[in-house]
Amino acid sequence: MNVIEKVPIGSTLLQAQSPWRRVLAEFFSSPTAVTGLVVLLLIVLVAALAPWIVVQTPYDLMQLNVMDARMPPGSLNGDSGYTYWLGTDGQGRDLVSAIIYGLRISLWVGIGSALIAAVIGTLLGLVSAYVGGWLDALLMRLVDLLLSFPVILMALMILAWLGKGVGNVMLTLIMLEWAYYARTARGQALTESRREYVDAARGQGVGPLRIVVGHILPNCLPPLIVIGALQIARAITLEATLSFLGLGVPVTEPSLGLLIANGFQYMLSNEYWISLFPGLALLITIVAINLVGDRLRDVLNPRLQR
């Protein structure tokens, strides 16, 4: 084996490496993508450790002081002496704390819905490809129908049935997103199932379930990962938009979108910070995810690989 690895031909060397390691190496060769990843990890870390970082729990009305409402950035809290670095909102919430808690909701909704939709969509896509026939036709028409209408329209429709709330926003996102995964997984599975390695596995007497899960699924993953990354960003944006419209989270537990909406009414009196800073937090998160997602798409693109 050693002899083969020392053959100085690039392609042979690449084949000898594990494909995932090659992908990782290529991913890390882009400074922008790495910056995006680092920022994203920081955001996730801050959101995860929120209760130990913030100076007040923004959802605990007992900790809020209405007298401190709408204070500009850098104001001092009279009682306990900490500084409102980014100011306070209309209810006297410290904006730093509110933004970090809002990020928690955004990430939870975005990542949670994307993961659940990925599992459901991939499963349905594989089943659709494997079973074929009327089930395949039915599922794919459903996917076509879902994807042909604007997301916001479908979201309004689903939320009009289900009512407001974080859980319902997540459910809405899942109901909209699974279709992307299903279509991709099905297409990819159909392509993969015609390859020789599947024939080989079948020839060796491997069962159909094991072929699908053990052989076809791993080869369907690269495009699904790319879709997943971009869907998380889309889900976070949509959640923020819906909360902004007053169809998302409850007023007592604002996510970033609702914080921005609440700040909107004060903007006309030049109290810009209530909308500006949550918006910037949202923006940085979305851009970071998109940078990572774009790089993943370049690295995992099968056309560039072969």
Partner: protein, 324 residues
Amino acid sequence: MIGWALRRLTQSLLVILLMTLVVFVGLNAIGNPMDILVGEDLNQAERLQAIAHLGLDQPLWQQYLIFLKGAVHGNLGQSFVYHEDAMRLILQRLPATFELAFSALFLAVVIGVPLGMFAGMYPEHPLSRLMMAASIVGFSLPAFWVALMMIMLFSITLGWLPASGRGETREWLGVQWSWLTLDGLQHLLLPALNLALFKISLVLRLTRAGVREVLPQEFVKFARAKGLSPMRVMCMHVMRNTMIPVVTVLAMELGSTIAYAVVTESIFAWPGAGKLILDSINMLDRPVVVAYLMVVVVIFVVLNLIVDSLYYLLDPRVRIEASR
């Protein structure tokens, strides 16, 4: 040809029928509108009378059939809140939404096409690179936040443009329009630009890709060799051949522009159908929500049908594909 048209038409009607079912059954799963519309002080008999008056006492399938029968005649029920015909409410508000959506598409073309042509002609130019980077931002920014920033910059800090309402309107063809007065145009600019941001990015990228594809082709070289001025080559020969995908995509985008106007209208207090639907969702005004969803679905399906038919007529490849 007739076979294809019939098949495509049936498909569209089926989609609309399916959506009526989804919309109607789905909306009946939400809370009882009686709790909101009728005060606590009504006694049981008055309550039942009100329920019967609104037709809510019949079984769901019967309500659906009545709804469907009405829908064919353009009657989608009375608004629980405004006590007016739901369809008429939507149609009254729709011109304002259309005005906004078409203005947005207009801006997308007027801004996106020239920028895209520039970026396609000089792909290495720093300005082109800047435009491509900006268009990524245009894709990924949440529109509502951009709207707020626009209001903050242009309305509050600079005081150039108004941030809410339609301004002065003038009647034309029996409908009030903002774009016919200067004040109305000023009111229209910010919301239209906000709604257009995503489309500008899209048109810019499409045009750029088209120009880069067309430029190296023989007929462009020939036109140049003939001694035509670069301006004329660009406008007459290159542009014509890049506009087909742009026009198709924009036609398809009209539906989503109308749907996304919900966000823009609610921020800029633009009195269109989108604002009405948000209020109606919050007040559980079922007939209005249903009427809005149905109107947008029909607009959407009809647009798709038109685009598909045009493609069928214009592109021989689609015809061959369809006849197989």
